[in-house]
């Protein structure tokens, strides 16, 4: 039995965070949450996490993207696999018609749109964790 994996959610929607958390905790993950990008970045710096679940539209605007790019510049933090969970299409669909575009900022990242089916969520999380582990093994 492997060690319990630690996940961090950075999302400004308190209700959505509660929902995500209950699904992930039920699947035996340890889950922390930050409700804005500032607190989120601080949490990532002060504690080790195995995976990050990241929202896009927060604070002043699409700050999730800004945060992902910042993490990617940090040699240590860029190794965290990131699952971007966004409602951007609903939030500002009038801006551009079309789908949210996966920006691919981090070595291991994936994008899903809200609302997320619990099964899809858990599949994505374990897939990303495996990919991160494989990458780590490769580097070693």
């Amino acid at each position: 039995m492997s060690q319990q994996k630690k996940l961090l959610i950075i999302d400004d929607d308190p209700d959505f965070v509660e929902g995500l958390k209950s699904i992930l905790v039920a699947a035996k993950y340890s889950v922390d949450a930050a409700h804005n990008p500032k607190d989120g970045f601080q949490a990532l710096q002060s504690k080790h996490y195995d995976l990050l679940l990241l929202d896009i539209m927060m604070g002043r605007g699409a700050e999730g993207i800004m945060l992902a790019r910042k993490l990617n510049k940090d040699p240590k933090l860029r190794e965290i696999p990131v699952l971007i969970i966004t409602g951007i299409r609903e939030q500002i669909a009038f801006l551009f018609p079309g789908q949210a575009v996966h920006p691919h900022f981090m070595p291991i990242d994936e994008l899903v749109e809200k609302p997320v089916e619990p099964k899809l969520l858990l599949d994505k999380v374990s897939e990303l964790l495996q990919r991160a582990q494989a990458r780590k093994a490769q580097v070693k």
């Binding site: 539209m57 002043r60 605007g61 699409a62 993207i65 800004m66 500002i92 801006l95």
Partner: protein
């Protein structure tokens, strides 16, 4: 000759063309060149802040970065554009992460923002950069006895940029005095004209316009002077609608400060865009052509 990167803003292309024309004519006489930014884009107005502030700042940063390429300070005649450009530069200056992120977007247009170009309102160019003493030397037709209501409006003053007096400013009055006009004192000179509410919350904006017009007229002003295209349009073009809504009978001309300065400099009214207003400026002109 001092040269600025000139950011006219969307309104000055057509709706406020007379502001553009009079700005060019008057600054030329002061030995100032307004060099239009080659491919400027909208500053984002207020609407962009309703969606994404990072995007709003990006729009401004593109304009600022173009001015930096030319090593020129930026001058904006519209108070809304001025406020947006000013605070985009300030916010990027104090938040390196934000500046880095926006520069990443600017790469797509081969631009880079550093903050090296300062942002000025057109009126600051007259009052601070050129200076009123220098300006007075160009006055050939002082507007003696013309009673003018200086209308500051909002964003030229607020939010506070650095050191200026936001409660009791005098620079507009001083400018009018320098061209021989008589600035009248009236209570609402710093109050809002309603801005874009004229389109989105019409009744409330019309009531603000009505109060302003009333205050200016009661003070005995023959004309209202503005330093912002949105204020000019609200105060001038909606006088008829105010009258229909409130049963008033306003008919007071509303001009740009640059038009008054131009008249005092002896520039022909037509070159200052005079003739495109909805409320006649005949009485104002009689003071200039003596």
């Amino acid at each position: 000759m001092k040269t600025y990167a000139y950011f006219p803003g969307c309104s000055l292309e057509k709706m406020a063309l007379s502001y553009h024309q009079s700005a060019i004519e008057t600054t030329r006489m002061l030995g100032v060149e307004l060099k239009e930014l080659e491919d400027w884009n909208c500053c984002g107005a207020t609407a962009y802040f309703h969606v994404d502030e990072l995007l709003a700042h990006t729009l401004c940063a593109r304009n600022l970065a173009m001015a930096e390429q030319e090593h020129l300070d930026v001058v904006a005649p519209c108070s809304g554009c001025y406020k947006n450009l000013y605070f985009a530069r300030a916010d990027l200056g104090r938040d390196p992460d934000l500046a880095e992120h926006i520069n990443y977007a600017l790469e797509e247009d081969n631009l880079h923002f550093t903050g090296s170009s300062a942002v000025r309102h057109l009126m600051e160019v007259f009052v601070d950069d050129v200076g009123l003493e220098e300006l007075k030397t160009k006055v050939t037709q002082p507007l003696d006895g013309l009673r003018v209501a200086p209308y500051y409006g909002c964003q030229i003053l607020r939010p506070r940029k650095n050191h200026e007096d936001v409660e009791q400013p005098r620079f507009f009055e001083d400018l009018l005095t320098a061209i021989g006009a008589v600035p009248v004192e009236y209570a609402l000179r710093l109050r809002c004209c309603g801005g874009a509410l004229i389109l989105t919350s019409r009744r409330s904006a019309l009531s603000l316009v009505r109060n302003l017009l009333q205050s200016a007229v009661e003070s005995g002003a023959a004309v209202i002077a503005t330093a912002c295209p949105l204020c000019q349009v609200n105060l001038e073009c909606y006088q008829k609608q105010v009258s229909q809504e409130f049963g008033t009978e306003f008919s007071i001309p509303v001009v740009y400060f640059t038009q008054l300065v131009g008249l005092a400099f002896g520039i022909p009214p037509k070159s200052l865009g005079i003739g495109s207003e909805l409320v006649s400026t005949r009485d104002v002109l009689s003071y200039a052509a003596k």
